[in-house]
Symmetry: C2
Subunit: 233 residues, 2 copies
Protein backbone atom coordinates (compact mmCIF):
# COMPACT_ATOMS: atom_id res chain seq x y z
CA UNK A 1 0.00 0.00 0.00
CA UNK A 2 2.54 2.54 1.12
CA UNK A 3 5.20 0.72 -0.81
CA UNK A 4 3.41 1.51 -4.02
CA UNK A 5 3.25 5.18 -3.16
CA UNK A 6 6.91 5.36 -2.28
CA UNK A 7 8.08 3.47 -5.33
CA UNK A 8 5.84 5.60 -7.51
CA UNK A 9 7.47 8.76 -6.29
CA UNK A 10 10.97 7.37 -6.47
CA UNK A 11 10.21 6.18 -9.98
CA UNK A 12 10.43 9.78 -11.10
CA UNK A 13 13.40 10.94 -9.10
CA UNK A 14 15.37 10.11 -6.01
CA UNK A 15 14.33 11.62 -2.74
CA UNK A 16 14.77 11.50 0.99
CA UNK A 17 12.07 10.50 3.44
CA UNK A 18 10.81 13.87 4.47
CA UNK A 19 10.44 14.87 0.88
CA UNK A 20 8.46 11.74 0.10
CA UNK A 21 6.06 12.66 2.81
CA UNK A 22 5.76 16.20 1.58
CA UNK A 23 5.07 15.12 -1.99
CA UNK A 24 2.51 12.62 -0.87
CA UNK A 25 0.73 15.29 1.08
CA UNK A 26 1.02 18.16 -1.37
CA UNK A 27 0.95 16.53 -4.75
CA UNK A 28 -1.50 13.75 -4.18
CA UNK A 29 -4.11 14.95 -1.78
CA UNK A 30 -4.35 11.39 -0.56
CA UNK A 31 -2.61 10.33 2.58
CA UNK A 32 -3.38 13.62 4.15
CA UNK A 33 -0.54 13.10 6.54
CA UNK A 34 1.48 9.98 6.19
CA UNK A 35 2.96 9.15 9.52
CA UNK A 36 6.68 8.79 9.87
CA UNK A 37 5.92 5.79 11.91
CA UNK A 38 4.82 4.09 8.72
CA UNK A 39 7.05 5.86 6.25
CA UNK A 40 10.42 4.98 7.73
CA UNK A 41 9.61 1.36 8.42
CA UNK A 42 8.31 1.11 4.86
CA UNK A 43 11.55 2.54 3.53
CA UNK A 44 13.51 0.09 5.64
CA UNK A 45 11.40 -2.75 4.29
CA UNK A 46 11.97 -1.67 0.74
CA UNK A 47 15.66 -1.25 1.30
CA UNK A 48 15.94 -4.64 2.93
CA UNK A 49 14.14 -6.24 0.03
CA UNK A 50 16.37 -4.50 -2.46
CA UNK A 51 13.70 -2.39 -4.09
CA UNK A 52 15.40 0.84 -3.17
CA UNK A 53 18.98 1.80 -2.47
CA UNK A 54 20.06 4.46 -0.07
CA UNK A 55 22.97 6.85 -0.07
CA UNK A 56 23.68 8.52 3.20
CA UNK A 57 25.01 12.01 3.25
CA UNK A 58 27.13 13.41 6.00
CA UNK A 59 26.62 13.27 9.73
CA UNK A 60 28.69 15.68 11.73
CA UNK A 61 27.95 14.57 15.25
CA UNK A 62 27.84 11.58 17.49
CA UNK A 63 27.37 8.41 15.56
CA UNK A 64 29.98 7.31 13.06
CA UNK A 65 27.52 6.94 10.23
CA UNK A 66 28.89 4.60 7.69
CA UNK A 67 30.58 6.93 5.33
CA UNK A 68 30.17 4.76 2.29
CA UNK A 69 28.58 7.60 0.45
CA UNK A 70 29.76 7.43 -3.09
CA UNK A 71 29.60 11.15 -3.38
CA UNK A 72 32.37 13.28 -2.01
CA UNK A 73 31.64 16.94 -2.33
CA UNK A 74 28.61 17.74 -0.29
CA UNK A 75 29.61 21.30 0.33
CA UNK A 76 30.24 22.05 -3.26
CA UNK A 77 27.12 20.22 -4.19
CA UNK A 78 24.82 22.11 -1.91
CA UNK A 79 25.81 25.47 -3.24
CA UNK A 80 25.57 24.39 -6.79
CA UNK A 81 22.10 22.96 -6.29
CA UNK A 82 20.44 25.73 -4.41
CA UNK A 83 17.98 26.34 -7.21
CA UNK A 84 15.71 23.44 -6.42
CA UNK A 85 13.50 22.81 -3.46
CA UNK A 86 15.04 19.53 -2.52
CA UNK A 87 18.52 20.72 -1.95
CA UNK A 88 20.02 20.09 1.37
CA UNK A 89 23.17 20.28 3.29
CA UNK A 90 25.39 18.04 5.26
CA UNK A 91 22.68 17.45 7.79
CA UNK A 92 22.21 13.72 7.95
CA UNK A 93 19.93 12.70 5.16
CA UNK A 94 19.25 9.47 3.47
CA UNK A 95 18.54 9.77 -0.19
CA UNK A 96 16.60 6.87 -1.62
CA UNK A 97 16.59 5.82 -5.21
CA UNK A 98 14.69 3.04 -6.88
CA UNK A 99 16.47 -0.02 -8.23
CA UNK A 100 15.63 -2.18 -11.19
CA UNK A 101 14.10 -4.65 -8.84
CA UNK A 102 12.10 -1.82 -7.35
CA UNK A 103 10.78 -0.83 -10.76
CA UNK A 104 9.64 -4.37 -11.35
CA UNK A 105 7.96 -4.43 -7.97
CA UNK A 106 6.29 -1.12 -8.68
CA UNK A 107 4.77 -2.33 -11.92
CA UNK A 108 3.70 -5.53 -10.28
CA UNK A 109 2.00 -3.72 -7.42
CA UNK A 110 0.43 -1.22 -9.76
CA UNK A 111 -1.03 -3.87 -12.01
CA UNK A 112 -2.10 -6.14 -9.18
CA UNK A 113 -5.69 -6.23 -8.07
CA UNK A 114 -6.43 -3.65 -5.45
CA UNK A 115 -7.89 -4.94 -2.21
CA UNK A 116 -11.63 -4.56 -1.79
CA UNK A 117 -11.26 -3.84 1.87
CA UNK A 118 -11.49 -0.92 4.19
CA UNK A 119 -9.67 1.84 2.39
CA UNK A 120 -10.32 0.91 -1.17
CA UNK A 121 -10.69 4.56 -2.05
CA UNK A 122 -7.09 5.21 -1.14
CA UNK A 123 -5.92 2.14 -2.90
CA UNK A 124 -7.70 3.12 -6.08
CA UNK A 125 -6.75 6.77 -5.87
CA UNK A 126 -3.14 5.85 -5.49
CA UNK A 127 -3.23 3.64 -8.54
CA UNK A 128 -4.98 6.30 -10.55
CA UNK A 129 -2.34 8.79 -9.57
CA UNK A 130 0.22 6.52 -11.18
CA UNK A 131 -2.02 5.37 -14.00
CA UNK A 132 0.25 6.97 -16.55
CA UNK A 133 2.65 4.13 -15.94
CA UNK A 134 0.01 1.59 -16.92
CA UNK A 135 -0.72 0.21 -20.33
CA UNK A 136 -3.95 1.61 -21.77
CA UNK A 137 -5.73 -1.68 -21.35
CA UNK A 138 -4.66 -2.05 -17.74
CA UNK A 139 -5.70 1.53 -17.14
CA UNK A 140 -9.15 0.85 -18.48
CA UNK A 141 -9.38 -2.33 -16.44
CA UNK A 142 -8.52 -0.37 -13.30
CA UNK A 143 -11.28 2.12 -13.93
CA UNK A 144 -13.84 -0.53 -14.70
CA UNK A 145 -12.87 -2.59 -11.69
CA UNK A 146 -13.45 0.43 -9.53
CA UNK A 147 -16.75 1.16 -11.20
CA UNK A 148 -17.97 -2.36 -10.60
CA UNK A 149 -16.88 -2.14 -6.99
CA UNK A 150 -18.82 1.05 -6.38
CA UNK A 151 -21.86 -0.26 -8.20
CA UNK A 152 -21.83 -3.36 -6.08
CA UNK A 153 -21.54 -1.33 -2.93
CA UNK A 154 -24.38 0.88 -4.03
CA UNK A 155 -26.63 -2.10 -4.63
CA UNK A 156 -26.03 -3.69 -1.24
CA UNK A 157 -26.28 -0.32 0.47
CA UNK A 158 -29.65 0.38 -1.04
CA UNK A 159 -30.98 -2.96 0.05
CA UNK A 160 -29.89 -2.31 3.57
CA UNK A 161 -30.62 1.36 3.97
CA UNK A 162 -34.20 0.75 2.89
CA UNK A 163 -34.75 0.26 6.56
CA UNK A 164 -37.17 2.86 7.81
CA UNK A 165 -36.11 2.59 11.40
CA UNK A 166 -33.06 4.81 11.04
CA UNK A 167 -33.08 8.12 12.84
CA UNK A 168 -32.73 11.41 11.02
CA UNK A 169 -28.98 11.69 11.28
CA UNK A 170 -28.13 8.18 10.31
CA UNK A 171 -30.53 8.36 7.42
CA UNK A 172 -28.99 11.57 6.20
CA UNK A 173 -25.58 10.01 6.51
CA UNK A 174 -26.54 7.00 4.46
CA UNK A 175 -28.28 9.09 1.85
CA UNK A 176 -25.34 11.40 1.50
CA UNK A 177 -23.02 8.45 1.24
CA UNK A 178 -25.15 7.03 -1.55
CA UNK A 179 -25.10 10.32 -3.38
CA UNK A 180 -21.36 10.52 -3.09
CA UNK A 181 -20.97 7.05 -4.49
CA UNK A 182 -23.19 7.93 -7.42
CA UNK A 183 -21.12 11.02 -7.97
CA UNK A 184 -18.02 8.88 -8.00
CA UNK A 185 -19.52 6.51 -10.52
CA UNK A 186 -20.45 9.36 -12.82
CA UNK A 187 -16.90 10.61 -12.59
CA UNK A 188 -15.55 7.19 -13.40
CA UNK A 189 -17.86 7.00 -16.38
CA UNK A 190 -16.35 10.17 -17.73
CA UNK A 191 -12.87 8.80 -17.25
CA UNK A 192 -13.77 5.51 -18.86
CA UNK A 193 -15.28 7.31 -21.80
CA UNK A 194 -12.17 9.38 -22.27
CA UNK A 195 -10.02 6.26 -22.13
CA UNK A 196 -12.13 4.48 -24.70
CA UNK A 197 -11.97 7.40 -27.06
CA UNK A 198 -8.27 7.63 -26.64
CA UNK A 199 -7.82 3.99 -27.44
CA UNK A 200 -10.10 4.19 -30.45
CA UNK A 201 -8.14 7.15 -31.71
CA UNK A 202 -4.88 5.34 -31.28
CA UNK A 203 -6.18 2.39 -33.25
CA UNK A 204 -7.32 4.39 -36.22
CA UNK A 205 -4.33 6.60 -35.99
CA UNK A 206 -1.86 3.80 -36.19
CA UNK A 207 0.65 3.73 -33.38
CA UNK A 208 1.33 7.36 -32.83
CA UNK A 209 1.74 8.92 -29.45
CA UNK A 210 -1.94 8.45 -28.82
CA UNK A 211 -1.67 6.40 -25.67
CA UNK A 212 0.84 8.67 -24.03
CA UNK A 213 -0.88 10.95 -21.61
CA UNK A 214 2.25 12.50 -20.29
CA UNK A 215 4.98 13.11 -22.82
CA UNK A 216 7.50 13.67 -20.06
CA UNK A 217 7.19 10.08 -19.01
CA UNK A 218 9.65 7.97 -20.97
CA UNK A 219 7.66 4.80 -20.39
CA UNK A 220 4.13 5.72 -21.33
CA UNK A 221 2.91 2.21 -21.45
CA UNK A 222 5.28 0.34 -23.63
CA UNK A 223 7.12 -1.59 -20.97
CA UNK A 224 3.95 -3.30 -19.88
CA UNK A 225 2.28 -3.87 -23.17
CA UNK A 226 5.00 -6.31 -24.00
CA UNK A 227 5.40 -7.85 -20.59
CA UNK A 228 3.98 -11.29 -20.21
CA UNK A 229 0.68 -11.38 -18.37
CA UNK A 230 1.73 -14.03 -15.93
CA UNK A 231 4.86 -12.15 -15.08
CA UNK A 232 6.61 -14.69 -12.87
CA UNK A 233 6.37 -14.47 -9.10
Amino acid sequence: MLDLAILGLLFEQEMHGYEIRRRLRDELGLFANISFGSLYPALSRLERSGAVAVTESGGTSSAPLLSTGSLGGERAGLRARRSGATLGTKRSRKVYRITGQGRALFEQLLEGEEPAGADDARSFGLRLAFARHLAPSARLALLERRRAQLTRRLATDLVRASGDRLDVYTRSLVEHSTESTEHDIAWLDRLIDAERQKQAASRTDGARSADSTDPSDPHSGDAMTSSSPTGAS
Copy 2:
Protein backbone atom coordinates in the same frame (compact mmCIF):
# COMPACT_ATOMS: atom_id res chain seq x y z
CA MET B 1 -12.79 4.67 17.56
CA LEU B 2 -14.24 1.20 17.48
CA ASP B 3 -15.12 1.48 21.14
CA LEU B 4 -17.47 4.30 20.36
CA ALA B 5 -19.22 2.26 17.70
CA ILE B 6 -19.61 -0.75 19.96
CA LEU B 7 -20.86 1.23 22.91
CA GLY B 8 -23.23 3.11 20.67
CA LEU B 9 -24.85 -0.09 19.52
CA LEU B 10 -24.94 -1.64 22.96
CA PHE B 11 -26.47 1.56 24.23
CA GLU B 12 -29.69 0.55 22.52
CA GLN B 13 -29.74 -3.13 23.32
CA GLU B 14 -27.50 -5.98 24.30
CA MET B 15 -25.89 -8.01 21.58
CA HIS B 16 -23.25 -10.57 20.79
CA GLY B 17 -20.17 -9.91 18.72
CA TYR B 18 -21.32 -11.20 15.40
CA GLU B 19 -24.47 -9.16 15.65
CA ILE B 20 -22.48 -6.03 16.39
CA ARG B 21 -20.54 -6.56 13.24
CA ARG B 22 -23.68 -7.13 11.23
CA ARG B 23 -25.36 -4.00 12.52
CA LEU B 24 -22.27 -1.95 11.88
CA ARG B 25 -22.18 -3.19 8.33
CA ASP B 26 -25.87 -3.10 7.52
CA GLU B 27 -27.23 -0.23 9.53
CA LEU B 28 -24.42 2.20 9.31
CA GLY B 29 -22.85 1.89 5.92
CA LEU B 30 -19.57 2.86 7.51
CA PHE B 31 -17.07 0.27 8.48
CA ALA B 32 -17.89 -1.75 5.43
CA ASN B 33 -16.51 -4.82 7.07
CA ILE B 34 -15.22 -4.52 10.55
CA SER B 35 -12.63 -7.16 11.08
CA PHE B 36 -13.09 -9.66 13.86
CA GLY B 37 -9.46 -9.12 14.52
CA SER B 38 -10.37 -5.70 15.80
CA LEU B 39 -13.85 -6.37 17.08
CA TYR B 40 -13.08 -9.10 19.55
CA PRO B 41 -10.02 -7.44 21.02
CA ALA B 42 -12.08 -4.29 21.37
CA LEU B 43 -14.78 -6.17 23.22
CA SER B 44 -12.16 -7.68 25.50
CA ARG B 45 -10.76 -4.24 26.15
CA LEU B 46 -14.14 -2.85 27.02
CA GLU B 47 -14.93 -5.77 29.24
CA ARG B 48 -11.61 -5.49 31.02
CA SER B 49 -12.19 -1.81 31.63
CA GLY B 50 -15.67 -2.45 32.94
CA ALA B 51 -17.53 -0.64 30.20
CA VAL B 52 -19.43 -3.71 29.14
CA ALA B 53 -20.44 -6.89 30.91
CA VAL B 54 -20.74 -10.25 29.29
CA THR B 55 -23.07 -13.14 29.93
CA GLU B 56 -22.16 -16.37 28.32
CA SER B 57 -25.12 -18.12 26.87
CA GLY B 58 -25.22 -21.59 25.47
CA GLY B 59 -24.27 -23.92 28.27
CA THR B 60 -27.19 -26.01 29.39
CA SER B 61 -26.11 -24.94 32.79
CA SER B 62 -24.02 -21.87 33.11
CA ALA B 63 -21.64 -23.76 35.31
CA PRO B 64 -18.36 -23.49 33.40
CA LEU B 65 -18.08 -19.71 33.11
CA LEU B 66 -14.40 -19.92 32.68
CA SER B 67 -12.44 -17.01 33.95
CA THR B 68 -12.52 -14.41 31.25
CA GLY B 69 -8.80 -14.16 30.94
CA SER B 70 -8.07 -17.79 30.42
CA LEU B 71 -5.72 -17.93 27.53
CA GLY B 72 -4.08 -21.23 28.01
CA GLY B 73 -5.62 -23.58 25.53
CA GLU B 74 -8.72 -22.32 23.87
CA ARG B 75 -8.41 -24.62 20.95
CA ALA B 76 -7.83 -27.61 23.14
CA GLY B 77 -10.78 -26.56 25.21
CA LEU B 78 -13.04 -26.30 22.25
CA ARG B 79 -11.98 -29.67 21.05
CA ALA B 80 -12.52 -31.19 24.43
CA ARG B 81 -15.97 -29.73 24.54
CA ARG B 82 -16.77 -31.30 21.24
CA SER B 83 -15.24 -34.64 22.12
CA GLY B 84 -17.61 -35.16 24.97
CA ALA B 85 -16.58 -33.23 28.04
CA THR B 86 -19.41 -30.77 28.34
CA LEU B 87 -22.04 -32.08 26.07
CA GLY B 88 -25.31 -30.80 24.86
CA THR B 89 -23.94 -27.31 24.70
CA LYS B 90 -25.84 -24.98 22.55
CA ARG B 91 -23.66 -22.87 20.37
CA SER B 92 -21.45 -20.73 22.53
CA ARG B 93 -22.45 -17.09 22.46
CA LYS B 94 -21.34 -14.18 24.50
CA VAL B 95 -23.94 -11.52 24.96
CA TYR B 96 -22.55 -8.12 25.80
CA ARG B 97 -24.43 -5.40 27.56
CA ILE B 98 -23.34 -1.91 28.44
CA THR B 99 -22.75 -0.86 32.02
CA GLY B 100 -23.25 2.48 33.69
CA GLN B 101 -19.57 3.07 33.38
CA GLY B 102 -19.86 2.21 29.71
CA ARG B 103 -22.62 4.76 29.23
CA ALA B 104 -20.43 7.40 30.78
CA LEU B 105 -17.55 6.40 28.54
CA PHE B 106 -19.80 6.49 25.51
CA GLU B 107 -20.96 10.02 26.18
CA GLN B 108 -17.44 11.09 26.88
CA LEU B 109 -16.15 9.60 23.64
CA LEU B 110 -19.07 11.01 21.69
CA GLU B 111 -18.60 14.50 22.99
CA GLY B 112 -14.84 14.43 22.74
CA GLU B 113 -13.12 16.11 19.86
CA GLU B 114 -12.72 13.86 16.90
CA PRO B 115 -9.20 13.35 15.65
CA ALA B 116 -8.22 15.35 12.61
CA GLY B 117 -6.15 12.53 11.28
CA ALA B 118 -6.33 9.94 8.59
CA ASP B 119 -9.88 8.66 8.73
CA ASP B 120 -11.66 11.71 9.95
CA ALA B 121 -14.59 10.90 7.71
CA ARG B 122 -15.26 7.72 9.59
CA SER B 123 -14.80 9.38 12.89
CA PHE B 124 -17.28 12.08 12.01
CA GLY B 125 -19.75 9.72 10.38
CA LEU B 126 -19.76 7.57 13.42
CA ARG B 127 -20.48 10.49 15.68
CA LEU B 128 -23.21 11.70 13.40
CA ALA B 129 -24.80 8.27 13.45
CA PHE B 130 -25.10 8.62 17.20
CA ALA B 131 -25.84 12.33 17.17
CA ARG B 132 -29.28 11.74 18.63
CA HIS B 133 -27.56 11.05 21.93
CA LEU B 134 -25.97 14.49 21.89
CA ALA B 135 -27.35 17.68 23.29
CA PRO B 136 -28.49 20.04 20.52
CA SER B 137 -25.61 22.41 21.18
CA ALA B 138 -23.05 19.63 21.04
CA ARG B 139 -24.66 18.34 17.88
CA LEU B 140 -24.37 21.71 16.25
CA ALA B 141 -20.79 21.99 17.41
CA LEU B 142 -20.01 18.64 15.84
CA LEU B 143 -21.38 19.72 12.50
CA GLU B 144 -19.59 23.02 12.54
CA ARG B 145 -16.34 21.45 13.57
CA ARG B 146 -16.59 19.13 10.61
CA ARG B 147 -17.46 21.97 8.30
CA ALA B 148 -14.45 23.95 9.42
CA GLN B 149 -12.26 20.92 8.94
CA LEU B 150 -13.40 20.40 5.37
CA THR B 151 -13.12 24.07 4.57
CA ARG B 152 -9.60 24.10 5.86
CA ARG B 153 -8.71 21.08 3.83
CA LEU B 154 -10.24 22.61 0.76
CA ALA B 155 -8.17 25.74 1.17
CA THR B 156 -4.87 23.95 1.52
CA ASP B 157 -5.76 21.57 -1.26
CA LEU B 158 -6.45 24.40 -3.65
CA VAL B 159 -3.17 26.01 -2.86
CA ARG B 160 -1.36 22.82 -3.60
CA ALA B 161 -3.27 21.48 -6.55
CA SER B 162 -2.70 24.73 -8.37
CA GLY B 163 0.39 23.01 -9.57
CA ASP B 164 0.21 22.68 -13.32
CA ARG B 165 2.70 19.89 -13.51
CA LEU B 166 0.23 17.16 -12.61
CA ASP B 167 -0.62 14.61 -15.24
CA VAL B 168 -4.17 14.07 -16.48
CA TYR B 169 -5.08 11.35 -14.04
CA THR B 170 -3.71 12.95 -10.93
CA ARG B 171 -5.31 16.21 -11.86
CA SER B 172 -8.66 14.56 -12.39
CA LEU B 173 -8.27 12.84 -9.05
CA VAL B 174 -7.55 16.05 -7.24
CA GLU B 175 -10.34 17.89 -8.98
CA HIS B 176 -12.83 15.19 -8.18
CA SER B 177 -11.67 15.14 -4.60
CA THR B 178 -12.22 18.87 -4.40
CA GLU B 179 -15.70 18.54 -5.82
CA SER B 180 -16.55 15.84 -3.35
CA THR B 181 -15.40 17.98 -0.47
CA GLU B 182 -17.54 20.85 -1.72
CA HIS B 183 -20.45 18.48 -1.96
CA ASP B 184 -19.84 17.42 1.61
CA ILE B 185 -19.75 21.01 2.78
CA ALA B 186 -23.03 21.79 1.06
CA TRP B 187 -24.56 18.79 2.77
CA LEU B 188 -23.24 19.92 6.12
CA ASP B 189 -24.69 23.36 5.50
CA ARG B 190 -28.09 21.82 5.06
CA LEU B 191 -27.71 19.86 8.26
CA ILE B 192 -26.52 22.91 10.14
CA ASP B 193 -29.43 24.92 8.86
CA ALA B 194 -31.88 22.28 9.96
CA GLU B 195 -30.27 22.15 13.39
CA ARG B 196 -30.46 25.90 13.80
CA GLN B 197 -34.09 25.99 12.83
CA LYS B 198 -34.87 23.20 15.20
CA GLN B 199 -33.18 25.02 18.03
CA ALA B 200 -34.91 28.25 17.21
CA ALA B 201 -38.23 26.48 17.13
CA SER B 202 -37.56 24.86 20.46
CA ARG B 203 -36.75 28.22 21.98
CA THR B 204 -39.89 29.97 20.83
CA ASP B 205 -41.93 26.90 21.47
CA GLY B 206 -40.95 26.62 25.07
CA ALA B 207 -39.62 23.23 26.00
CA ARG B 208 -41.75 20.94 23.98
CA SER B 209 -40.39 17.90 22.22
CA ALA B 210 -38.62 20.13 19.78
CA ASP B 211 -35.08 19.00 20.41
CA SER B 212 -35.89 15.33 20.40
CA THR B 213 -35.20 13.83 17.06
CA ASP B 214 -35.99 10.32 18.10
CA PRO B 215 -38.81 9.95 20.59
CA SER B 216 -37.78 6.41 21.32
CA ASP B 217 -34.56 7.61 22.82
CA PRO B 218 -35.10 8.30 26.50
CA HIS B 219 -32.11 10.60 26.70
CA SER B 220 -32.60 13.03 23.87
CA GLY B 221 -29.99 15.44 25.04
CA ASP B 222 -30.70 16.25 28.63
CA ALA B 223 -27.99 14.22 30.28
CA MET B 224 -25.27 16.13 28.55
CA THR B 225 -26.62 19.61 28.79
CA SER B 226 -25.87 19.54 32.48
CA SER B 227 -22.66 17.58 32.44
CA SER B 228 -19.57 19.55 33.28
CA PRO B 229 -17.21 20.12 30.37
CA THR B 230 -14.18 18.88 32.19
CA GLY B 231 -15.91 15.65 33.09
CA ALA B 232 -13.48 13.96 35.45
CA SER B 233 -10.92 11.45 34.18
